[in-house]
C-alpha cells in the first residue's frame, strides 16, 4: 500500500465505497456495448438450439472444438482468483490484499462462463441434467471412473466453494456499504445481503476461524480442478493428449492466464476509480512476476511434451506434434508460442513490468495465447488421429465464434455490475494492513 501512514480506516471506507452506485457515462456506454455483444451471443445459441448442432463447424471426428476450448479457457481464468485469495492468504503475501477481491469475483464469473459451455456443447439443452450423477432411478448409471463425471464434481465443487469463500469475504464489507449509505432501500437490501453483520467480537472470532478453513479447503481445489480438467484429455488414448504431464502443465497454464486476466481487469479499474492508494505498480509487478514464473513452467511443459513425443518413437505421438507445428494448424501453434513463451519475456525488463501500458497489453496477449493453446491441444489432436483417412480440417462456424465472443460479454457484464454494486477492494482486510489508531499517536501529535 502506498503511504500507509496517510491512509486511515475512514479514508478506506470513503475511497472504496464512493465509486459505487453512480454509473458514469463511460461505464454506461461500455455496459451497453457489452449487452449488445451478449445479445448476439444469445442469438447464436438460440439459432443453434433451433437448427441443431449442424450449425456448429463440427467435422467428424472433431466434435470438441471452440466450445470445449472456451470452456477450458474460462476454467483456467477462474484459477487465479482462488490462488490469490486462498494460497496467498495462507502464505501471508501482503500484495494479495488489494487484488484478491476483484480476482475472486473474476473467478466466480469465469466459472459461470465456463459453466455455460457444457450446456451449449451438449446441443439438446433440455437433456443437460444427464450430466449430473443423481440417483439411478432413471437407469442412467453414472460411471464414476470416467473423467467427465470427475469434471462435473470438480467444477461444481469449485464453483460452490469459491462462491461461498467470495461471499463470506464480502459480508463485513457489504455491512460497511450499508452503513455508509443513506438510501433506506439500499440500506435494507445490503443489510439483508450481509445478514445484519455488525462486527461484534463473537462474529469476528468465528468468522476469522472459518475464513482460515475456507482458505485451507480452497488451496487443494486450485490444484485439483484444472488437474481434473486436464484428465478429460489425458485419460483418452488420443495422441497429443495421453500424457502424464497434463495436470501440472494445465495448472501452470491456468495460473498464468488467470493472473494475466487479473492484470487486464484491474489496470483500467485502478485508473478509473483512482484506487492508487490500494492498488499500485508493486501489486501489478508481483502479478507479472507470478506470470513469468508460471509462463516458464508452461514453456518447459511445451518443450518436454514435444521431446517426449519424439523420444517415445511412437509415430502417432510424434506425428501429431510435427503436424501441430507444420500442418494446417501451424499458425495457431505459432500464435501460442509467441503469445505465451516469447512476448511475456519483455516482463523481464523492469521498465516494462512497472509500466501500466506494458502490463496491460502483454496481459491481453497472454490471454489470447492461452485461448489458442487450448485450441491447439483440442482441435489439432482430434483432426489428426490414427487413421490418415480420418484426417480433417476443422474450422469454427460463425455460430461458434458468436457464442464464444458472447461468453466474453457475459463475463464482462457480471464484472461491470460487480464493480458498481460491491466493494471491489476488501475494506476490512485493507484496514488490517494499516497501523491501528493508538492513543500514543494522538499524544505524540499533540
Amino acid at each position: 500500500m502506498q503511504n500507509e501512514n496517510a491512509v486511515t480506516y475512514g479514508l478506506v471506507n470513503k475511497e472504496v465505497i464512493e465509486p459505487l452506485f453512480k454509473p458514469s457515462l463511460a461505464w454506461a456506454a461500455i455496459f451497453a456495448v457489452d449487452l449488445l455483444i451478449l445479445a448476439f451471443g444469445v442469438y447464436c445459441w438460440s439459432y443453434q438450439l433451433e437448427w441443431g448442432m449442424g450449425v456448429a463447424g463440427y467435422t467428424p471426428p472433431v466434435f470438441w472444438g471452440v466450445y470445449i476450448t472456451t470452456f477450458v479457457f474460462w476454467v483456467g481464468i477462474g484459477h487465479a482468483g482462488t490462488l490469490i485469495s486462498a494460497i496467498l492468504y495462507l502464505f501471508r503475501a501482503r500484495f494479495r490484499t488489494g487484488v484478491y477481491r476483484a480476482a475472486e469475483a473474476m473467478t466466480i464469473f469465469a466459472v459461470l462462463s465456463a459453466g455455460l459451455f457444457p450446456n451449449i456443447h451438449v446441443g439438446r439443452l433440455w437433456y443437460v441434467y444427464f450430466l449430473f450423477p443423481y440417483p439411478n432411478q432413471r437407469l442412467l448409471w453414472p460411471n464414476f471412473k470416467s473423467p467427465l463425471v470427475w469434471d462435473v464434481f470438480a467444477i461444481s465443487t469449485y464453483l460452490t466453494i469459491s462462491s461461498v469463500f467470495f461471499f463470506v469475504g464480502l459480508i463485513p464489507d457489504i455491512a460497511a456499504v450499508r452503513d455508509s449509505n443513506r438510501n433506506p432501500i439500499i440500506k435494507k437490501v445490503y443489510n439483508m445481503l450481509c445478514f445484519g453483520w455488525r462486527g461484534t467480537d463473537t462474529q469476528w472470532r468465528h468468522y476469522m476461524a472459518a475464513y482460515g478453513f475456507f482458505a485451507a479447503l480452497c488451496t487443494p481445489l486450485v490444484v485439483s480442478v484444472h488437474s481434473v480438467v486436464s484428465w478429460d484429455f489425458a485419460m483418452a488414448q488420443t495422441a497429443g493428449w495421453h500424457s502424464t504431464i497434463f495436470p501440472p502443465y494445465f495448472v501452470a497454464g491456468a495460473i498464468f492466464s488467470g493472473c494475466a486476466m487479473v492484470i487486464t481487469l484491474l489496470v483500467p479499474i485502478t485508473k478509473i476509480f483512482k484506487w492508487e492508494n490500494y492498488l499500485n505498480i508493486l501489486h501489478f509487478e508481483a502479478m507479472a512476476k507470478l506470470c513469468l514464473l508460471t509462463g516458464f513452467i508452461l514453456t518447459y511443459s511445451y518443450i518436454i511434451e514435444h521431446f517426449i513425443g519424439w523420444y517415445s518413437d511412437n509415430p502417432y505421438e510424434w506425428g501429431i506434434f510435427v503436424d501441430r507445428a507444420t500442418g494446417q494448424y501451424d499458425w495457431i501453434f505459432f500464435m501460442m508460442v509467441a503469445c505465451n513463451c516469447v512476448i511475456p519475456l519483455v516482463w523481464w525488463f523492469k521498465k516494462v513490468r512497472t509500466n501500466l501500458w506494458g502490463l496491460w497489453l502483454v496481459s491481453i496477449v497472454i490471454n489470447i495465447g492461452m485461448w489458442f493453446e487450448r485450441y491447439n491441444i483440442i482441435a489439432s489432436s482430434l483432426a489428426h488421429q490414427f487413421d490418415p483417412g480420418a484426417w480433417v480440417l476443422y474450422v469454427p462456424s460463425w455460430v461458434e465464434i458468436g457464442i464464444m465472443v458472447g461468453s466474453f460479454a457475459w463475463f464482462f457484464m457480471w464484472f461491470l455490475l460487480f464493480v458498481k454494486l460491491m466493494p471491489a477492494i476488501a475494506i476490512a482486510e485493507i484496514k488490517e494492513m494499516i497501523k491501528p489508531p493508538l492513543s500514543t499517536d494522538t499524544e505524540e501529535a499533540a
Binding site: 448409471w141 471412473k145 464434481f153 467480537d201
Partner: protein, 184 residues
Amino acid sequence: MSSHVKGVFNHLDSLITAIDRLRKADFDDYTVLSPLPRHEIEEAIYDNEPSPVRWWTLTGALVGGTGGFTLASLTSAVWPMALPAGKPMISIPPFVVITFESTVLIAGLATLAAIIYHCRLPAMDLPIECEDPRYSSDRFGLVFHDLEGARKEEAIKLLHDSGAEEVSCADDEDDATELVHEEA
C-alpha cells in the same frame, strides 16, 4: 430500570484497556464492536481459546469423504454389467477424485453453516446500541447490556477512564440515548 451503556473508542489501545478493566471488574455481559478483526481484541476477551468452527469443518470433511466414496462404490456395485472385463468393481484411484471433491464440498458447506450458527446470523436481534455506522468505518465500540444502579455507574466510569471518546446510555423502556460523556 436496566440500561444499555455504550462507549465509542477512537483508539485500539484504549479499547483493549477497557476490556482488561471490565474483565477484572467481573463484567461479563458486553459486546465489543470493531470495523476489522484484531487479534488483540480476541486475545483480550477469549484468551486465545480456539473457535469451535473447526469441529464443523472436520465433521463435514469426514461426512463428505465417506459419502462421496460410498456413492461412487455403491453405484458401481449395483451395476456390475458396466464393468470392463477384469477391472475391479470398486477401484480406489478413480474414486479418490470423487472422494476428495465431496470432502471439500461438504467441509466447506459445514464451515458456512458454522459461521451462520456461531455468528448468530442473520444478526437481527442485537440491541440498537450495536447499530452504529461508525463501527464499520473507523471507530471501536463497547456495549454493556442490562446494567442497573451502581453497576451502571461503574461501567460509565470505566469507559470514561479507559479513554472512550463518547459514552452514552439508553434505558430499556426509553429508546432515547442520553449522552453521558464526550471527549473534547
